[in-house]
Amino acid sequence: MIQDETAESSDPAAEAFPPPEPEPRPARRGRARALAALGVFGELLITLGLVLGLFVAYSLWWTNVEADRSAAQASDKLRSAWAAGPTGTPSATAPGATPSGAPAAPYAARDGVGFLHVPAMGEDYQVLIRMGSDNATLAEGVAGVYEQPYRAAMPWDAAGNFALAAHRDGHGAKFHDLDAVHKGDAIVVETKDKWYVYKVDNTLPETSKYDTGIVAPVPTGSGYTGPGRYITLTTCTPVYTSRYRMAVWGSLVRVDDVDAKRTPPPELRHS
């Protein structure tokens, strides 16, 4: 009888089919109750373990599914808004209102600024760029433009740092392979009318999360000494944690016009 009760409290499957037991004697009733309480406690611990396992699955898998779906929709929306609007107009000088009602000024483009292409992270790597680096924005599987602690300069600005953040894991994990980007690699920002081609000059494998200088207009530690047209990609490191931050810095090489067929610049063509 004692053996049966022990088995019952540690094994939910056994408890599911309890053996018929005789009426417990008064002396053993307290002990039986304690064992039952222990059994419930054990089941709660098992449940907690399962819930934590589910949370890992949620973080590393389900948030990617959701973010990719949401980002794909937003990307399609932006591309169709571009297609509907007049092309060939430099957005920096004459942002024309599009028939679809898209915001005229790129700064206010809630649907997205454009797309980030980094061939080093995959041949067809493309990430939607949106304003803001808050959790809600980044959770949608996009690269977010820093608005604080430094307000990032946009690619078409005369000088400044176009600083972006994205998730390393979960929520699309758009910068999961940021450590595969090395000095000399190309980073291309695609807007409605321009291809902004950057070249990576320096990388920072690990820094403190308080190191806000890495997204400054002239990023500290980047080796840049004066104002220029820079790009900074940041995410967390090592993978599956958010203990440190890493950064990739590049500077603008040239700006290409987008043609009618949106032919990508040579950096993005697969040979």
Partner: protein
């Protein structure tokens, strides 16, 4: 706990098994839809940006 639930489910073993499965799926759905999205920002696993520690930006 689970034994108590099992004993209070109606029907034979097959019906109980089906109901149990539905209950489990329901709980997983609630966790993924409401509980985890609520809990995730409270946990320090998804912070990717740099800030001055003021907490104004995403941590």
């Amino acid at each position: 706990m689970y034994g108590w639930i099992w004993r209070h489910l109606p029907g034979n073993t097959l019906v109980r098994a089906v109901i149990s499965l539905l209950l489990i799926l329901g709980v997983v759905y609630l966790l993924f839809t409401y509980v985890f999205p609520w809990a995730e920002p409270l946990l320090p696993f998804g912070d990717v940006t740099v800030d001055g520690g003021a907490g104004a930006a995403a941590g």
